[in-house]
Each structure stands twice: as C-alpha cells, then as structure tokens.
C-alpha cells in the first residue's frame, strides 16, 4: 500500500482538479460582462493561511464551501451549516467566525486562518493542538478544529485566560461528546505550553 | 395580469387555495373607473340641451321612511369601513385594521339580518322583487316603474348576493381568529379555509365594483334626487310623475 495515496489525499486531489477546471471555465464566463455597480466579480484572491489563493467564488458561496470544496481545506468541518454548532469556526483577522455563515466575498481583504494553517513550517503542532493531544481532549473529533480555532483566537487576544474566560470564549462551539471539560483542560495546558 | 387564485403549500406540502390574487383589486378598480368615466362621457354626449328636469318644488311625498334611511346609511358606513379596513393592508397602509374590520362586519351582519326580517314581514317586499316583465323596462321608454326601477332592483339584488357572500365567508373567517367570544381553534382544514378566503376576496372585489357604481349613480345629476330622498326622505310629485308609475306605487304625502 502506497502510504502517499491515502483516501484523504485522493479526495483532495479530486477536489483540487475539479476546482482548477471550474476556475478556468468560469474565467471566461465571469469576465467581460456588464454588471451594475456594486456587483461582485467571481474571480477573487483570498488570503488563506498566509497564502494568497486565486479562486473562482460564486456570489452566494459561503467561506466554508470555498475552503472545503475549492481549496481542499477539509479541516474546516460543516456540522449544522446554520451557525448553531461551531464546527466550521475559522479565524478572520484573528476573530473566530462561523465559516458556514459568512460569504467568501466578504473577506477578500482579510486574513483567513484554518486549522491547517496552525502547524508550524517544521511540522510542530500549534500549542493548542499539542495541548489538546496531551489532554486527549477530542473524542470523536468532529468539533475539534472549531474548538481549536476558538481557543487560538482566545489566546491571541488574552494570553492568560482563566478557566471561566476560556469557557465563555469557547461557548460558541458545541461538543456532542461532551468533552467540554477536556477542552478547557487543553486550553489551560496550552497557556502553560506557550508559557 | 397575473393569476386569479393564489395557492400555497399546507403543512404537508400539498397545494391548497390561499385566496384571491389581490392584483385583481387594481384590475377591478381600474376597470370600474374606466367604465364609469366612459358612461359619464356617453351620457354627456347624449344629453339633450336644456332638458327639463323634474323640479324638486311642490308637494312632497315620502320615498324612504326614517328607519329605512338609518338602515341604509349604517349599512353603507359599515360596508365602506369594511372595504377600507380590508383593502388598507393590501395596498400597504399600516393600520390596526382587524378589530375595526370584524366589529364593522358584526354590525353589518346584524343590520342585514334585521333588514331581511323587516323587509320580509313589515315592508312592501314585493316592491323590490325583480319580475320577468321588469326586464323589458329598460327597452321601453313608455313603461314606468313602481317604487324601484329595473336598475335599482338589479343593483339591490346584486349587492344582496355579494353582501351575503361576504358575510357568510366573513363569519367563517371570524371564527378562525381570537375574539372576545371564543379562542380560535384552527378547526377548519386549510383547503376549506382557503376556499373561504377566495370567496371572501372575490365578493370583496365585486363589492368594490358595486359600491363604486352605486356611488357614481347616486351622484349623477339626473339621479341625485334619489340621494336626497335617502337623506331627507322625500321626493317631489314632479319627480314622482317623471320617473314612476303612480298606478304601481302610490306613496303617502310627506308631513
């Protein structure tokens, strides 16, 4: 078994090639048409995890859709898709945001960070990720990327939160496994790791 | 022109009637205005110069008893209020119309019932009956009517039908909302309720047209003495002679 050809990589490959094809096709359809002022162009550049990416974004597309299906960043999970669970939380200019409930077009000039962007260049996990691993905080793991992003957002704003402050900052993320305690333990450990 | 009937989906996703399409309100309104203007122009063109109108001078005879006039004006007022309060939210006027609407509706219902009872037993019911021979009246200038001429009777019965339809459907709708007398039950299936709304809407449209026509004719110069008679009760002998056949209607003299 070739370890490089995992199922996840395969899916990502399919997504990437699909995105490339639609982008090229849409370049022609989306340009050269007269539109009323204020109308959005479909081809945009967005800054995701420090990289500027050219994407063909439909006007009504949510950020979560773009990240997952155009850029292959499937770490951002879709739970309810209604802003009621928090699994899709990403950071926009360091602010935790439900990617399912914002439009990609709204953030053309902003810095978007997903869970994929937290790992450092040398492969070290972000302290919050490391702390969550050490505390065995995730159970099923579906809400975990969102919990991580909320925690990272909190720690950037307040490097030394109390457990209660952490609880309020993470309050917009549901965990159906009920791992709230472990996530809070993880945040407190991350505070120590960052030192 | 859009559709006539609006549909909606009920809880189960089945398509049911929602009611009449209120686009028709504008259609009906415009149509009736155009018709009446056309009528006014034709009448003006046909009008003979220096036509002698019957004079209102001279002896007065009673056309409408005081109680009948009260009935008429109260019904007129309640219908106008009903039309206004019903139409206001449709044309986008933000007023608290519903309570006024159903209270007026109850008043109208009471008046109509009272009128029916009175007209059936105490008044000259026959004077309003539309007989087959009356249909010749418009085509024969020699024929003069009794108390009411053909068009008046026609208008009366058209309004009767429409008002009864409005009242029956209105009462059914009234039973679907909270009122001081009961709490609503949502007891009517949605498709039947939709049908009720449709009939109420259609009769509203008819009523708007009839009311406009009625008001128009009441204000026509050659008919305005009827309006006066509905306000003050009398008409002159001259007017009586010019328009009615004393053999068919012999009113008493006014005091």
């Amino acid at each position: 078994m070739n370890p490089k050809l995992t199922r996840r990589r395969f899916i990502k490959g399919v997504i990437a090639s699909g995105a490339a094809a639609t982008t090229t096709a849409a370049w022609y359809s989306a340009t050269g048409q007269e539109r009323p002022s204020g109308f959005v162009e479909r081809l945009v550049r967005i800054n995701v995890n420090g990289q500027v990416r050219n994407v063909d974004v439909e006007p009504q597309e949510t950020l979560a859709s773009t990240l997952r299906y155009k850029l292959g960043l499937t770490g951002t999970k879709l739970g309810c898709n209604r802003g009621e669970c928090g699994a899709c939380t990403v950071l926009v200019n360091d602010v935790p945001t439900y990617a399912c409930s914002v439009l990609t077009h709204s953030f053309k000039n902003d810095r978007i960070e997903t869970v994929e962007g937290l790992e450092s260049a040398n492969g070290d996990l972000h302290p919050v990720q490391q702390a969550f691993v050490e505390e065995l905080a995730p159970q099923c793991g579906y809400c975990t990327p969102g919990q991580i992003m909320s925690a990272v957002g909190l720690l950037r704003e307040n490097a030394n939160p109390t457990r209660d402050e952490a609880r309020h900052a993470l309050a917009g993320n549901i965990c159906r496994c009920g791992s709230y305690d472990s996530y809070l333990d993880g945040v407190m450990r991350a505070v120590e790791l960052i030192g | 022109m859009g559709e006539i009937v609006r549909f909606k989906r009920d809880v189960w996703g089945e398509e049911v009637i929602l009611g009449v399409s209120w686009d028709l309100l504008y259609v009906v309104f415009m149509a009736i205005v155009i018709l009446l203007i056309a009528h006014a122009i034709v009448m003006a063109a046909l009008a003979k110069k220096n036509l002698e109108r019957p004079t209102g001078e001279g002896r007065r005879i009673v056309r409408h008893e005081s109680i009948d006039r009260w009935f008429h004006w109260l019904m007129a007022a309640s219908i106008l209020v009903l039309i206004f309060t019903g139409v206001a939210p449709i044309i986008g006027l933000r007023i608290a119309w519903l309570d006024i609407h159903w209270i007026s509706g109850l008043i109208l219902t009471f008046l109509v019932i009272a009128h029916i009872v009175r007209a059936s037993f105490w008044q000259d019911f026959k004077s309003m009956l539309l007989m087959p021979k009356d249909f010749a009246e418009p085509f024969d200038s020699a024929r003069k009517p009794g108390k009411y001429y053909f068009e008046q009777k026609g208008m009366h019965w058209a309004v009767t039908v429409v008002v009864l339809a409005v009242i029956v459907t209105g009462v059914l709708m009234f039973m679907q909302i909270d009122s001081p007398f009961w709490e609503r039950t949502n007891s009517m299936p949605e498709d039947q309720l939709g049908l009720v709304f449709l009939l109420h809407g259609l009769s509203t449209l008819a009523l708007v047209a009839l009311a406009a026509t009625h008001i128009y004719f009441a204000l026509r110069p050659e008919k305005i003495f009827y309006t006066r008679s509905m306000i003050s009760g009398w008409m002159s002998e001259d007017e009586l002679a010019a328009n009615h056949d004393p053999a068919k209607w012999s009113p008493k003299e006014a005091d």
Binding site: P36, S37, G38, F39, V40, E58, P59, Q60, E61, T62, S65, L78, N81, R82, G83, E84, G86, T89, V95, P96, T97, Y98, C100, S101, V102, L103, H105, S106, S150, H168, A169, A171, G172 | K8, R9, D10, V11, W12, G13, L18, G19, P89, R94, I95, A96, W97, L98, D99, Q176, I177, D178, E183, R184, T185, N186, E190, L193, G194, F197
Partner: protein, 331 residues
Amino acid sequence: MVATSHDVMPDIELYQPADEATALDLASRLGNEGWLLGGGQDTYGWLKDRNKNPSAMIELTQIDAWKGITETVDGIEIGAVTTLTDIARDPLIQSRFGLLAEAAGIVASPQIRNVGTLGGNLIQDTRCWYYRRGLDCYRAGGNICYADSPEGLNREHALFGASRCVAVTPSDTAPALVALDATMVISSTSGQREIPAQDFFVGPDRDILNMTVLNEGEILTAVRIPNTWANAEFYFEKVADRNVWDFALVNVAAAFRTSGENIEDARIVCGAVECVPRRLQDVEAAIRGRSRSDSTANAVADMATAGARPLNYNNFKVPLMQNLVKRAIRG
C-alpha cells in the same frame, strides 16, 4: 411549505456597494427582491432552507460610513453594521450605556456576535418555529396561524398584542435601545427619516408581514442614543433555555434615575413577550418617587403583566416577566 434542508446556498446575486449612495440606489432598485445583508447570521438559514427567496443580496458591511461608534453633541451614534462584539466591548458604550453593552454581549454566541451587526439584531425576523419552518402562516402571507391553536406549540410566543400572529421579537438589543430612548436613522434614495426606537417596531395588528416600519428600499443606517439616560442605573437580564445561542424566553432592559433613595424616572422594557419590545409605562409611572426595594417591586409586579393573554403553553412567561421586572426594580 415544509422546509427542505439544503446545505448549499441557492443561486443568488450579491452586491457589495462600497458607498452609501450605491447601496441606497440598489436597495430602491431591487425592492423586495433585494435582501439587505448585515452580518447575515439570520440570513443564510432562510436562504439555505429556501424559505425566503430574494434574487439578490446587498451587503452593507463594506460601507464604512455605517460602521463604528461616534460621539455626537448630545449622545452617541452607532452605525447599523457595527458588530455586536464591537458594541459590547466599546469603552464609551460600556461606561455610558452599559445596558446596551450588556445586551449586545449576551446575544447568541461569540462567533455570531463577532459577525452579527446591531442593525441585523434589531430587524431580524421572529423565531416562531412554525414560521421558521417555512410554513405559509399569516406572517408568511398565508391565512392561518399554527402556533395559536389548542394544540399549537406556543411556549415561546406572545403574551400581549397578538393579532392573528402570536410571534415575539427575538432581539436582545431592541429592548435596551427602547429603554435608552434611542432613535433609528432610516435612509433611502428619497432622504433620511428618524423614528424613535419605540415606534420602529410594528406588531401584527398593523403589519403582519414585517416587524419594523422599514419600507421597501429603506435601510436602517444608524442608531442614535441621546444622553438622556447616560450613566443611569441599568438592569438587563435575559432568560433563555440555554446560556448560549438561545433566544430570550423573556428579557428585561431597564434604566433608572434616582435621587437619594427614590426613583425619579425609569424606563422598563421587556422583550419576547410581544411582537414589539414592550415598554411598561404603567410600572414606570407607579414607581416614580418610590425606592428601589422589594416592597416597590412587589407592589407593581401584577401591573407589569396586566392585560397579558397567555396561550396554552406560555403561562410561565407571566411569572417570569413579573419576576424580571421585580429584579430590575430591586436592582
């Protein structure tokens, strides 16, 4: 129509006007076909469920003129697309109108507050679950109310002001702004008008399809709070099932001016008991000249809910509302 849940947004245009004139022009041109977009936190669910079907969205958050908190001669002005987080954390609002900061800080969840705007919170549609489900009820232009019937599930619905529809205002900031005697600034291509917060919201008796006085083509652009109630004694409390996300079962926003022991003037407003924020003027009048104490609170508790007409499953809102008003008065 029974809601069909979709994960993707429907095909719909998006306009991102960069200045006021373009936005107003778009709003007037698109009319009912255009959906004004603040943070969109109450929008995308409607659209994904296909229960509201506008043909275009007009995003207002790019317009800097409608964003931010500024001090004016006689108070402050808050742009309608200022986020709730910004309002909750603004030092000026915290120090002067803590009531609004508190209300904005308890809306929904942190992420929603980070994106959601004040304007959006004020004009968001009601949470009646039958209506949200996409059923064609009165509020959706139909001819029936599913919530107010012997078997309707109406635990979250109105005590007051029901007229066919029994939905309630879901907003937390609306009662606070009514209590602060704020003014809503409404713009359109034909100019600007100002409406007191109290008159901004309309009940189903006057308009069963809309919850505010906004007409087609009009945009709520700013909220002005006069200094009348600046630095007053405030009380805000929201009771909801869960402490995150959930909409108020009842909330109360109150402002008191006292001299010595006694209340000189007060404004008390409850949300989620009527289609509009309900101001309790009788209670306000009754407590003038009395102290903020248990006895005052108990004396006016019944007055707070006088005229309430509970439905089958919302009787609890009567004691809840009384208790919250009592707490507000006690301080």
